[in-house]
């Protein structure tokens, strides 16, 4: 369980996070969503005790952050772009990380290397590794002591599809408390049970992923028409279908809650008007912000 209360951190004059609250239940995969430089990484760095908060309280599994040594025993941390010493082999580095936790059992090291798909390259130096392979090594380092809590900074960034699938399966089967970051909801879809959306160091909204999806939808299709005069007709037909539609300039946005709705929407749109262009658009953090703070916008 991770609980943060009124946490603040400044880098010089920049406030990285402001009065940040977070509650992650035990054994749950929780997503921390937000655009670049919104403070997601700072939250993970604070929890992994790499940086100290200026004020506020935080604890992991009821251990306060001030007891860094005990916190670090139960966490595993993977940075977004891990920088690893290139003159080591994967086995040496994972072995070193294990020894820092007092683990010297070779079987454990072998097992984690295998789990991360590194057994065939374990004796190669890291200067020959791709970014994805390095990230796998970082995962192995973070998981070698079987931590109760995993802190993952954009875990899928830079990973190849095979590794992404492996990590996804590993996380879903692990029963660990996981706090992971992503830049949009799609990045954590199918992985997180709950989510916190951040903007400029503050929480916009947090809650169960399903509830959030219910409120804001999964995504939208942006449609542009050959003749804007057909807009009303299209809106009428889509309205009959029950789709939620918004218009911005010459673009019509049709929101959907499930991918299976897309063919139906497109069929109605194509029969009601001449379409020049139709493309899916992701729900951005700004959209979520607008949804939850309509007056401020």
């Amino acid at each position: 369980m991770i609980v943060l209360s009124k946490l603040n951190k400044k880098y010089g004059k920049t406030r990285a996070i402001k009065d940040f609250d977070l509650h992650v239940k035990k054994g749950v995969i929780h997503g921390l969503i937000g655009p670049e430089a919104c403070g997601k990484t700072t939250v993970l760095r604070l929890l992994s005790t790499l940086v100290r908060p200026d004020s506020g309280k935080a604890n992991i599994n009821e251990i306060p952050l001030e007891r860094g040594l005990h916190i670090r025993k139960i966490i595993g941390y993977v940075p977004k772009t891990p920088c690893l010493p290139k003159d080591h082999t994967a086995r040496e580095l994972v072995g070193f990380a294990a020894s820092l936790h007092g683990i010297h059992d070779r079987n454990i090291i072998e097992s984690i290397l295998k789990q991360m798909g590194l057994e065939s390259v374990a004796d190669q130096r890291l200067d020959r590794f791709s970014q994805a392979m390095e990230k796998n090594v970082a995962f192995a380092i973070a998981c070698v002591h079987n931590p109760l809590v995993l802190l993952l900074d954009e875990p899928m960034a830079g990973l190849d599809p095979v590794s992404q699938k492996r990590i996804r399966e590993f996380l879903l089967a692990s029963n660990k408390t996981v706090l992971l970051t992503g830049q949009d909801l799609d990045a954590v879809d199918g992985l997180c049970k709950s989510v916190t959306v951040m903007r400029s160091g503050s929480v916009i909204v947090d809650g169960e992923m399903a509830d959030l999806r219910q409120k804001i939808g999964k995504g939208a299709i942006e449609i542009k028409l050959f003749d804007v005069g057909q807009t009303q007709k299209l809106l009428f037909e889509l309205g009959k279908y029950g789709a939620k539609v918004t218009v911005s300039g010459e673009s019509i946005y049709v929101h959907y809650k499930n991918d299976s709705e897309i063919p139906g929407i497109m069929k109605i749109a194509a029969s009601a008007a001449d379409i020049i262009d139709a493309r899916p658009v992701k729900i951005s953090v700004d959209d979520i912000f607008a949804k939850y703070h309509p007056v401020e916008k």
Partner: protein
């Protein structure tokens, strides 16, 4: 607790392993240069004679060069009759002068070479990892910041042991085969080399936490060794300056202040301590205290650091 100790030993091992490549070449240079400078002492003959201190009164009795100057003056005085009769005088050095030569050349050389190498490597320990952003592996492990800092410090010190031991054996060799064992300063040399290593390692690591750039940290570290070595060279020359100023009837008052400035260099204290064992304990304690303060300051600064990756 056991896992903490095992983790700490892993840091020591990892740091030693990381630095050993860079040290191998230094061992070679250290061995060759120290051996050559020591072997050069064998070119002269030494006898057990004493020098009269009254032959050249000096305010700098603790400076080994004063004795060298006294010997040169006394040699010039005693051999003048031989020179006048057309003979070439044979220069036989007193044992004490041989010991001074040993302190001023091989010992000073080993102190500066060691200091330079240690500070160069020490200043890369934290700054290098900060720059390469590899610190997160250790910093997010169940090791405390002081244990990481101290582990790196111990790892670095271990690498200086071959140099310290080599010089100790060189000292034993010189004193048993060339000088009398009665003058043997082997243990003093051993202790001074050790405290020299501790001092420069703690100074280098303190520099290392102040800089985020490895190159800059190394530059500052090596410049400190250069400046301190220059101060000690100046200290060695003070009796000569006094001699020249007296010959030319100039005031030597400011030399006292100059000497005090040269005491800022640890090399000066180390040479003085080995040359004059009566002040050894005091100077050893001063150097130990400075080392502990630097180590503590570095550790506190490191604890307060935010780790980047």
């Amino acid at each position: 607790m056991l896992s903490f100790i095992s983790g700490f030993l892993s840091i020591v091992y990892s740091e030693t392993r990381r630095l050993i490549k860079g040290f191998l070449q230094s061992y070679l240079w250290f061995g060759v240069l120290v051996f050559i400078s020591t072997y050069a002492l064998f070119a002269e003959k030494y006898t057990d004679i004493s020098i009269d201190p009254m032959i050249l009164p000096s305010e700098y009795a603790n400076n080994p060069m004063t004795d060298v100057l006294r010997y040169i003056v006394s040699f010039a005085a005693t051999s003048s009759s031989e020179v006048m009769s057309g003979k070439i005088p044979t220069m036989v050095f007193p044992l004490s002068i041989g010991v001074i030569f040993f302190i001023l050349f091989p010992f000073m050389l080993s102190l500066t070479l060691m200091g330079n190498q240690i500070i160069k490597k020490a200043s890369t320990t934290i700054a290098g990892e900060n720059e390469k952003k590899t610190f997160y592996i250790m910093a997010s492990s169940p090791q405390t910041r002081p244990s990481i800092y101290f582990g790196k410090f111990i790892g670095l010190l271990l690498l200086t042991l071959p140099m310290i031991l080599f010089f100790y054996f060189i000292t034993e060799w010189v004193f048993t085969s060339l000088f009398s064992s009665a003058y043997n300063v082997g243990i003093l040399v051993l202790q001074m080399l050790f405290i020299n290593a501790v001092l420069f390692a703690s100074a280098g690591m303190f520099i290392s936490v102040l800089f985020k750039n490895e190159k800059k940290a190394t530059w500052v570290g090596t410049k400190i060794v250069t400046v301190t070595a220059m101060l000690t060279s100046l200290w060695i020359m003070i009796p000569f300056l006094e001699f020249v100023l007296n010959l030319t009837n100039n005031s030597t008052d400011y030399l006292i202040y100059l000497e005090k400035i040269t005491w800022l260099s640890p090399f000066t204290l180390e040479l003085m301590a080995v040359y004059n064992p009566s002040v050894f304990t005091d100077y050893f304690n001063i150097l130990t205290a400075i080392s502990v303060i630097l180590l503590f300051l570095g550790m506190v600064t490191f604890i307060r650091h935010d780790i980047e990756y």
